[in-house]
Each structure stands twice: as C-alpha cells, then as structure tokens.
C-alpha cells in the first residue's frame, strides 16, 4: 500500500514538473524574411520550415514575406534553429517575434530568464504573465538598418549576447 502511494506521488510530481517545463517552449514564431519578393522564393522558405519535425503548420503572407510558424508541443526549437532554417534557403531574417509562456516571471529591464530553448534578457519592462510575445533583437534577427539603429542598446548587452543561445528580447 505504502509503495503504491509513493509511486503515485512520484509519478504525479514528475508529471507536474514535466508539464511546467512545457510552458517554457516557443509555441509560435512570426518571421519576416528579407532578400525576396516573388512567391516562388517564399515557397522555398515555406517548404523548408514545414520540413522541420517540430513544426505543426506554417502560414505565409506573400506580400509582406511573413511566415507564421506554429510549433508542436514539447518542441526543442530555439531561435537559432529557426534562423538557420531560413538562412539555408538563401535568405535572411528581418524580424522574429516569438510567443512563449515563461510562467511567473518578473519581466523587467535586464531581467535574465533561462529556459531550455535559450537564455533570454529583457530590454524593457512588462506586466504581463502567461504567454507573451517577444521580439528577438540579436544580430541576424533584425534588418541591418534596425541593428545599426539599436547600436547603443546592442553595445550595452554585447557581452551577454556573445554567449551561445542567448537572446536579447523586447516584450511587445
């Protein structure tokens, strides 16, 4: 009797931990690609994103080159993996907005949050909880023009973003 109870408690605890971990994944990514105009180029990106095992679906706006990528539950996708996927097709990223649930986190400037999908550093304050939308500001995730404009901000966090899988994000 005691053993069964202990087992159930352990299983329940494991399930609880596992389910809270799933909240740290990226559930959606809205990507604007650069370097293209025509629908065939968009098709190349569309097919490349769809070929990723962790991708549930992709919806494309052919006029703004925006790809809304819905990811499967319990995915191991990081912003870098998405960037690689687009760059493989020969194009680049102009904007990446992620939808993630970081749980009960105080979103404040300089706040660092570590999750399986990466380390995130906020550049602004936000009073939201639950799933939030954040834009990635690292080099290669924004247009060159945008990156130059944010030079001061980038310099401030240069040391942190030099680390692997670390992203500067702005809550939007």
């Amino acid at each position: 009797m005691k053993n069964i109870n202990l087992k159930s408690i352990l299983i329940a605890a494991f399930v609880l931990i596992a389910s809270t971990n799933s909240y740290s994944q990226i559930s959606k990514a809205e990507i604007i690609a650069t370097g293209l105009t025509c629908s065939m180029c968009s098709n190349a990106i569309n097919k490349q994103l769809k070929s990723m095992a962790e991708v549930e679906s992709v919806s494309t706006d052919l006029n703004t080159n925006t790809f809304t990528v819905t990811l499967k539950d319990n995915n191991a996708v990081t912003p870098n993996i998405l960037k690689e996927s687009v760059e493989k097709t020969g194009f680049f990223i102009g904007s990446m907005v992620l939808t993630m649930d970081l749980g009960n986190v105080q979103v404040a400037e300089n706040q660092k949050v570590e999750r399986p999908s990466g380390t995130y550093i906020f550049v602004n304050n936000s009073t939201k909880t639950g799933p939030i939308k954040v834009q990635v500001l690292n080099d290669g995730f924004v247009t060159k023009k945008e990156f130059k404009k944010s030079a001061k901000l980038q310099a401030k966090f240069a040391q942190a973003t030099a680390n692997e899988n670390t992203y500067l994000i702005k809550s939007i």
Binding site: T34, G35, C41, N43, T89, F92
Partner: protein, 267 residues
C-alpha cells in the same frame, strides 16, 4: 516532327525564383540548400548560311549549401545531321556576399565552368555552353529592388581543342564576356496565393570580345517567363544579334527553357 516530340516531352521542367531568374545568365543568388533542379533548354538557331539547327541541353542542378551550387549539363544538337550528343559541362557557383533587406538584396558570386565538346570548330565565336571544349570563370552581381532585378557579369572564357578537332591557329582562343540583365515582375500586382501565375519580362545583353584580335559581338535577348503554382517555370526567349565582327554559325535563335525544383532532397 521528332524534334517537336522531344520539345513536348521536355515540357516538364519548372523553376523556382522569379524576376532575377534570367534565361541566359545565372544570378548571384543560389538555390535553397539541399534542393535539386532539373532543367531543359531547347533552342532553334538560325544559321547565317541558311537553315536551322536544333539544340537540346538537359541540366541537373544541386544546391550544395546556402552558398554553393553545382550544375551538370549535357549538349545535344543536330549540327552534324542527326540529333546527337556532343559534350557536357560542369558548373559551380559560390555566393560570397549577400546584403538583404525587405524585398531587396545585393549579392555577389564567383563561378566557373569546364566543358568538353567533340564537334568540329566552325566559327570564331567561343561558346563553352554547347560548342567548345574549354573553361570559363567569372563574377556576377545581382541587385533586387522590389519587383525589379538587375544582374551583371564579367568572365574570362578559354577554348581548347574539341577532343580530336584541333582549335584553329588563326582564331582567337580566349575571350572576355560581359552581360547585363534586367527583369521585372509584371504580374501579380499583389499576391493572394501560391497558385497565382507570375509573369516576368526580361531583357539581357550578352557580349563577347576575343582577346587576341579585339573582334566582338553584342546580342540582346528579350524574354517572357511564366511561373505557375510557385513551382513551374517556362521561359520563352529570342536572341538577336545587335552587331558582330566575329564569324558565327548563327546570329539569332529562339529558346524555350523549362525547369523543376525538388526541395529538401539532400538536407
């Protein structure tokens, strides 16, 4: 009749890309990494001394990675009577610079080609794409601004002996080539789906100058391109000689080119 049949059979290649997918030249951009394309070029050349020749060039293209592309082409024509295999070519392109923004880019690539051909050499014009054994190496720059693409290339081309046929001593065996291509996306004005047919209009200028004697030619190639279902591409082109003091078998030709790309094959 036989040729019409081949033409119809080869109506099965399609291509990706749009206003910078020029008919006669390659842009500085690449195919997506891991994709494989098959292409077929059908050409009818109007010989200067009367009559026509038919050329058929099947090609396989591979996007090795985001910066490297390799093509293999076979040459067939009926210059010597029946349609027969004349030679082949290997081409590689490396994109070494890319600066992208919304609906625009500027790219630079270097390329090289080696070709083999076993036909007799009957003209001064050097053409490693179907007429001469030899090699070519060059640079190409492409600029995309919204619906317009401009591409320019410069290359060095060297003809060698066509296997058993010696290259004539009294002809120039190397040349500089220069091209300028402009393409415009005409339709649709605004996208509603991948299934819409895209129409591109292009005009290309192709020039060659023989190094040893300074003789040169300049051609203009207007073309119309249809992209169906964001998968299939059909090019219709007419190549017209503007001027030439180089001896050429044919000064003008018509061309139909078709291409199809399989995505994510090797990645």
């Amino acid at each position: 009749m036989k040729y019409l049949g081949i033409l119809l059979l080869t109506f099965l290649s399609f291509d990706v890309n749009a206003q910078e997918l020029f008919v006669m030249t390659e842009p500085a951009s690449n195919m997506p990494a891991g994709s494989i394309g098959i292409r077929n070029t059908n050409m009818i050349t109007f010989k200067n001394d009367g009559g026509t020749n038919y050329h058929n060039m099947p090609e396989v293209m591979w996007g090795v990675d985001r910066n490297w592309m390799i093509h293999a082409t076979a040459f067939m024509n009926n210059r010597q009577g029946n349609l027969m295999f004349q030679g082949g070519s290997l081409y590689a392109k490396y994109r070494f610079f890319s600066s992208d923004d919304l609906h625009s880019h500027f790219r630079l690539a270097a390329y090289g080609r080696v070709s083999t051909n076993n036909a007799p050499i009957d003209q001064e014009e050097i053409e490693t794409m179907g007429m001469n054994s030899g090699y070519e190496t060059g640079l190409v720059a492409t600029k995309l601004i919204n619906k317009t693409a401009i591409s320019s290339s410069i290359s060095y081309e060297r003809a060698l002996n066509n296997n058993t046929h010696q290259f004539p001593d009294n002809q120039g065996n190397s040349a500089m080539n220069y091209t300028l291509s402009i393409g415009q996306l005409l339709h649709p004005k605004e996208y509603t789906s991948f299934k819409q047919t895209n129409v591109n209009a292009m005009v290309e200028f192709l020039g060659q100058r023989l190094n040893q004697n300074g003789k040169s030619y300049l051609d203009v190639v207007p073309s119309l391109q249809f992209i169906i279902n964001s998968q299939a591409r059909v090019d219709l082109a007419y190549r017209h000689q503007i001027y030439s003091d180089i001896n050429r078998i044919a000064s003008n030709s018509v061309l139909i080119k078709l291409e199809y790309t399989f995505f994510n094959v090797t990645n």
